[in-house]
Structures are given as C-alpha cells and as structure tokens.
Amino acid sequence: MLHTVNKSPFDKNSLKTCLSHSLKDSDILLIEDGVYGAIKDSAMSGDIEKALTDRKIYVLESDIKARGIDSSRLVQGVAIVDYGGFVELAASNDRVQSWL
C-alpha cells in the first residue's frame, strides 16, 4: 500500500498516525507540508529512521524545493521522487491511503 501524508508533523499528527498504522513494506510518500517530516535532527527524525528499517519513505522533489529544503538536510535513506516517480509509486501499489 502507498500512504501519502500532506501535513507537517509539527502541526498535525497525520504522519505519526500513518507511521503507527502502516505495515512493513509500505511505501510512504510525503507531499506538500508533509515533507517537513523528513528533515533530519528534528523531533520527528527518530520516528522516520525507525520506519525506514522496514518501509520506504519518499519526498516529492517540487515540494522540498519550494520550501527551501536541500536534499542534504533529509534523514538518510529518504528517497526523492519527482512527479513521474509519484505516478510510478501510485501505479506500482494496488491501493493508496491519503492521510490528511
């Protein structure tokens, strides 16, 4: 299953709830303000690192760029995808759950 999260974890608990309900081998794509969740050395980065041990986490390139987040500031292991990659993720997973 592909999970998308579009809210900042410092404002809403969407990402936390997504992480606590997604099973292993899930794909998690952070979009819009959701990308703030992937910044390293944050209050959230520990949860992200833990999730990365059995799930894949992606951020949408245009959304990190728009917010001035350089790829060097992301938690190691988080992958960057463009819109084409977003489409591929949606197509390769049989279902999508959008955490709002």
């Binding site: 299953m1 969407s14 709830t17 309900h21 099973l23 999508v96 959008s98 709002l100």
Partner: protein
C-alpha cells in the same frame, strides 16, 4: 457494480472544528447506496465524533451526531474505534453513543456497531481493504 469491494472510511478529525467529519459521514451515506462492503474507523480526534451528549445548539452549528445512529439502516454495521486513541483522550467506551444495527441474518436481533480495537489490529484491518478513504 458486479464485484463488491471492501471500503473503509477512516475518520481522524473532531466533529465541529473542521468540515472533515460531516463530509466524511455524508460520503459514507452516499456510498452506502452502492452496495459495497463498508466499515468505518475512528482514530485520533475522530473518536470525538462518537461522544454522547453533543449539543451544538448554542454554537449555531447543526448537531449531526444523531445521524451516526442511522448508519445501521444504511447497512454500515462495523464502526472500529481505536482503543489507544480513546485512552489518550481520557475516554472510555462508556463515553460513546450506543450505536446498534439490526442483524438481518439473525432474526433482526439488535447488535452493537461499535467495536473497540487496538492500534495494531486496526493496521491489519486497513491492509485488508480494497479502498481506504481518509477524512
């Protein structure tokens, strides 16, 4: 529609502070007309939607909590409420409305719709669905 799909409506927001809860409920009622296998999950602040004794009259907003009692008529008979979300908010099952449905396969016996489930169980239930709609 020829094949019945498993739909889960996941509710994560409190009832009056945003439009999510009401919109979600309306989508469930509309979707129920399509004869799919529908259930609802209430997690995080979504559990506040089911708290009994809501009275929004002084706020000028419509109290839509009675509408959850109609869900049984719409054959939405499984409402999963997350145990941890209740506990985190100082709530227990007794703070929630009593919601029931009549079981057609059991001589219309009245049965409770709300099931309290643990977080880990809810994750598994989500994985069983064909379609997940979050509100």
């Amino acid at each position: 529609m020829s094949t019945v799909k498993k739909f889960m409506y996941v509710n994560r927001h409190a009832p009056y502070g945003s439009i999510y809860a009401l919109e979600g409920l309306e989508v469930v009622l509309i979707g129920a007309a399509f004869d799919q296998d529908c259930c609802m999950a209430f997690i995080d602040d979504g559990v506040f939607q089911l708290v009994k004794g809501q009275d929004s009259s002084a706020s000028g907003m419509k109290n839509f909590s009675p509408t959850y009692r109609a869900l049984g008529d719409y054959e939405v008979t499984r409402l999963y409420v997350e145990k941890e979300s209740l506990m985190e908010r100082g709530l227990t099952k007794s703070d929630l409305m009593e919601l029931t449905y009549e079981d057609e396969d059991d001589d219309w016996a009245e049965k409770p719709s709300i099931q309290i489930v643990e977080r880990s169980e809810l994750g598994r239930l989500m994985e069983e669905q064909d379609v997940l709609l979050n509100f």
